[in-house]
């Protein structure tokens, strides 16, 4: 292993490869920041270009794009309240309020440091602990995915702590939207209203753009007489090191979120979209001041951005060891491996150890290089957005939403759906429904439904089919986690009261 690492490093530290990584990072950042272009699409689009390269170099470029794309999603989340990829949904919760306060640059720096940290932790797990961790991917069966979805629903309690009822109603709306289209199990056609295009259901990204971006753009337009710019760009001296120090102090949050991200990345049925919300939830739960979340505090951004970049390394763990992609972009990487005749498994680490270690190390290097590349791009983008008057910014955003929602499947229907959801989102926002729970319902709906139906089918062999949900140890872990998470706000209140009494 050590000599493979040495060879790998030699391969990476050549001008050509380093330039390729930097180019991949730039490309990834831009596609990530554009809502609609996800990491999966970015990686898939680049596949033909890698045919001309040797497999190692192809993987290096794709890895850099993947890593940067997940990070780039935070830019649009912070600057215009629209997650660039589903992995940055939670970044809007605190990133955008921070930007609105005029601290957009600080928010971007926090996201950068957290992303680099998370990315490195993920790659370290990938490099040293792949074989034992990969087995986690297999332990999760349908009943566990069902309980994981239930656990996910409890996140609503912390996302919408001000009005839990509205939060759960929002979640239910999202869940209902997720049932449109062909049923994932069984293949029944549901709620398509006769449109064949709706057989494919509502794409998550289309809903993200609709629910997050359109209401925000409309609100901007509605406020035109009050404010000319989105926010004042305050210049702070030494903001780089000040923010770095501030982020590095939050070791607990950084490490917890990164480990969560890595583990969720390993699970084939869940990726960055869930990881960032779970990490946010846990950050709220651990915090002594949970009420400050959502007002623009660093902890929120740190949790989501470190966890989603840790997913990158985590998702590759089951891919290279078992041939099971941990997240959708990993499926594309798998395709590239297969096309080059590289079959994942122990053989990959012995016969082709040079390729695989070079690839893993290149991810490490790419993550570190993301720091300078990200800071330069992020600052430029921040300045542009903040300096643009709203009368230019709002139409540009609207234009990008249309391009973005079309590009997902090259389908004009998606644009109509996005605009419809956008109007719905605006009305719901006026009624004080937060888009977070709606989108969460949309993400968890199919996971929960699939897990539920598949588990019941598995249960056919048992005397009572419902027992399948309760006769597996890992299911119980998730059940207990769900109960804890659901009742935590109550418990936390009790504890807080207890403390106060003591203080008095």
């Amino acid at each position: 292993m050590l000599d493979s690492i040495a060879i790998g490093l030699q391969h990476i530290f050549t001008i050509k490869v380093l330039l390729m990584i930097v180019a991949g990072l730039f490309g990834g950042l831009i596609t990530g920041a554009l809502p609609g272009l996800t990491a999966t699409m970015a990686v898939a689009l680049l596949v033909p270009f890698t045919f001309a390269m040797d497999p190692t170099e192809g993987l290096i470029v794709l890895g850099a794009i993947y890593m940067a794309c997940i990070y780039g999603g935070s830019f649009s989340a912070i600057l215009v309240n629209t997650p660039g990829t589903p992995s940055s949904i939670g970044t809007t919760f605190d990133g955008y309020p921070m930007a609105k306060k005029g601290e957009g640059e600080r928010a971007i720096l926090i996201a950068t440091f957290a992303s680099v940290y998370g990315g490195i932790i993920g790659v370290i797990f990938l490099l040293f602990l792949s074989p034992p961790l990969a087995s986690v991917a297999l332990k999760f069966g349908p009943p566990e995915y069902f309980w994981m979805a239930i656990f996910g629903v409890t996140i609503i309690a912390s996302l919408a702590s001000k009005n839990v009822i509205k939060g759960f109603v929002g979640g239910a709306i999202g869940f209902l939207i997720s049932t449109i289209g062909i049923a994932p199990i069984g293949g029944d056609v549901r709620f398509t209203a006769g449109f064949p295009e709706l057989q494919g259901g509502i794409e998550l990204i289309v809903a993200l753009i609709g629910f997050f971006c359109i209401p925000e753009a409309l609100t901007m337009v509605g406020q035109r007489d009050k404010k000319f710019h989105l926010a004042e760009a305050g210049k702070v001296r030494g903001i780089f090191f000040k923010t770095l120090k501030e982020v590095m102090k939050k070791q607990g949050n950084l490490f917890r979120s990164s480990v969560l991200g890595t583990f969720i990345g390993i699970l084939p049925g869940a990726g960055g979209n869930i990881a960032n919300l779970v990490a946010y939830n846990e950050a709220v739960r651990v915090s002594k001041k949970p009420e400050t979340f959502g007002t623009g505090i660093p902890d929120g951004i740190i949790a989501t951005e470190s966890s989603n970049n840790a997913v990158v390394g985590g998702g590759i763990i089951p891919l290279v060891t078992l041939g099971i992609p941990g997240a959708p972009p990993d499926a594309v990487l798998y395709g590239v491996l297969l096309l080059h005749g590289l079959r994942p498994g122990p053989e990959l680490f012995t016969t082709h150890s040079k390729v695989i270690y070079t690839f893993i190390l290149s991810l490490f290097v790419a993550t570190i290089l993301m720091l300078p590349v990200g800071v330069i791009c992020g600052r430029l983008l921040h300045r542009t957005v903040v300096r643009l008057p709203i009368r230019f910014l709002a139409p540009i955003i609207l234009f990008l939403t249309i391009i973005g929602s079309y590009s997902i499947r090259n389908n004009i229907m998606d644009v109509y759906i996005m605009l419809t959801l956008g109007v719905l989102g605006y009305i719901l926002k006026r009624l004080e429904f937060h888009p977070g729970p709606i989108v969460l319902g949309l993400i968890l709906g199919p996971i929960g439904e699939m897990g539920f139906v598949q588990a019941l089918l598995m249960g056919q062999m048992l005397p009572n089919k419902w027992m399948i949900f309760f006769n597996r140890p890992l299911s119980w872990v998730l059940i207990i986690m769900s109960l804890l998470s659901l009742f935590w706000p109550l418990v936390a209140k009790r504890l807080a009261k207890g403390w106060k009494i003591k203080e008095i």
Binding site: G141, P325, Q454
Partner: protein
């Protein structure tokens, strides 16, 4: 020689004019979009990627792969019905999907007959597979085991699909009671088998080729054995009349001129005989097929009759 060199540009222009006005060379003269109706990284994507470069060489224009996923392929195929029939947008098609979806959904957005397949290039038969460390080694072992465990769970990709209908058909001919559990893709079913959440898979040969050290194929639902799995017997050899699998091909929008269809048919045929393509496809467990346009039409007609009867027997047919 040098004195004549000024003629080179003229000559080039002349050649270009002759060839661009000539009817046979008119198509293709700009990039062709090859639409894959499934996820990037899936098997339809991988087969298209294998073809991409050789196809570009044969056709002389870039071939761009785009994805239009959803509804088990139906979103893309319903758009195929309305695409401009100029041959610059072609769609990957799959059997039995394009036969079974209109039969079971009522409104799939397309008609099987209107999908103008110009070529079917590969067949991926079903296999029955168990975990490598399972005590079940032969089909006989499996059937004996399944008799002692009624409603045995068997995973596969999609529903209705070659895997799901195959599982039903196999249960019919072997007189077993199985519970088919569908997953969203061949790849998604694999962790369920390896983690012991389902007892067996009705999956494709390509999966056995991908996971040789984790999965044991015990029988293959084809007329003859697969090159990638020479030791795996066919169901027919073992006395069970069961063949099932998925074909991959390529189609053009209805109304595409014959000349364009011929160019594409020939191009795909040529690519299919490319030794590099054959090697890559076979290594991944795909079986090469050479169905031109006319043969493709016959194949679809033949299979339509078969699936209509099977779906009727299973009570899945929607009129």
């Amino acid at each position: 020689m040098k004195r004549l060199s000024f003629l080179v540009p003229f000559f080039t222009i002349l050649v270009v004019i002759i060839f661009s006005t000539a009817v046979f060379a008119a198509y293709p003269d700009k990039p062709i979009t090859y639409v894959i109706c499934f996820n990037p990284g899936g098997e339809s994507d991988i087969t298209a990627r294998i073809q991409q470069q050789p196809l570009e060489k044969v056709l002389g224009v870039p071939v761009v792969i785009v994805y239009k996923k959803g509804g088990g392929g139906a979103v893309g195929w319903s758009e195929l019905m309305r695409t401009k029939p100029d041959g610059y947008t072609i769609y990957g098609t799959n059997l039995p999907h394009t036969i079974v979806q209109p039969m079971t959904r009522g409104k799939a957005g397309y008609e099987t007959k209107k999908i103008n397949n110009v070529y079917f290039f590969e067949f991926t038969p079903n296999i029955l597979a168990v975990k490598k460390d399972s005590p079940i080694k032969t089909l006989k072992d499996f059937i004996e085991y399944a008799k002692t465990r009624p409603k045995l769970s068997i995973g596969g990709s999609g529903q209705p699909s070659a895997n799901s209908l195959g599982a039903e058909r196999f249960a019919q001919v072997a007189n077993l009671k199985l519970t088919y559990i569908s997953f969203t893709g061949s790849g998604a079913a694999v962790p369920a088998l390896l983690g012991g959440h389902v007892e067996a898979l009705m999956t494709y040969t390509s999966m056995a080729a991908r996971y040789p050290d984790k999965m044991r194929a015990i029988a293959i639902a084809a007329e003859k054995r697969a090159k990638a799995l020479p030791d795996v017997p066919t169901f027919k050899e073992l006395g069970y009349d069961y063949t099932e699998g998925a074909y991959r091909g390529v189609a053009v929008p209805p109304g595409t001129p014959k000349k364009v269809r011929d160019v594409l048919e020939k191009a795909f045929e040529k690519v299919n005989y490319d030794p590099v393509v054959i090697k890559k496809m076979e290594d991944l467990g795909f079986i090469m097929e050479y169905y031109g346009e006319a043969k493709s039409k016959k194949l679809v007609e033949k299979l339509s009759v078969y699936y209509e009867q099977l779906l009727k027997d299973l009570g899945l047919l929607k009129k």
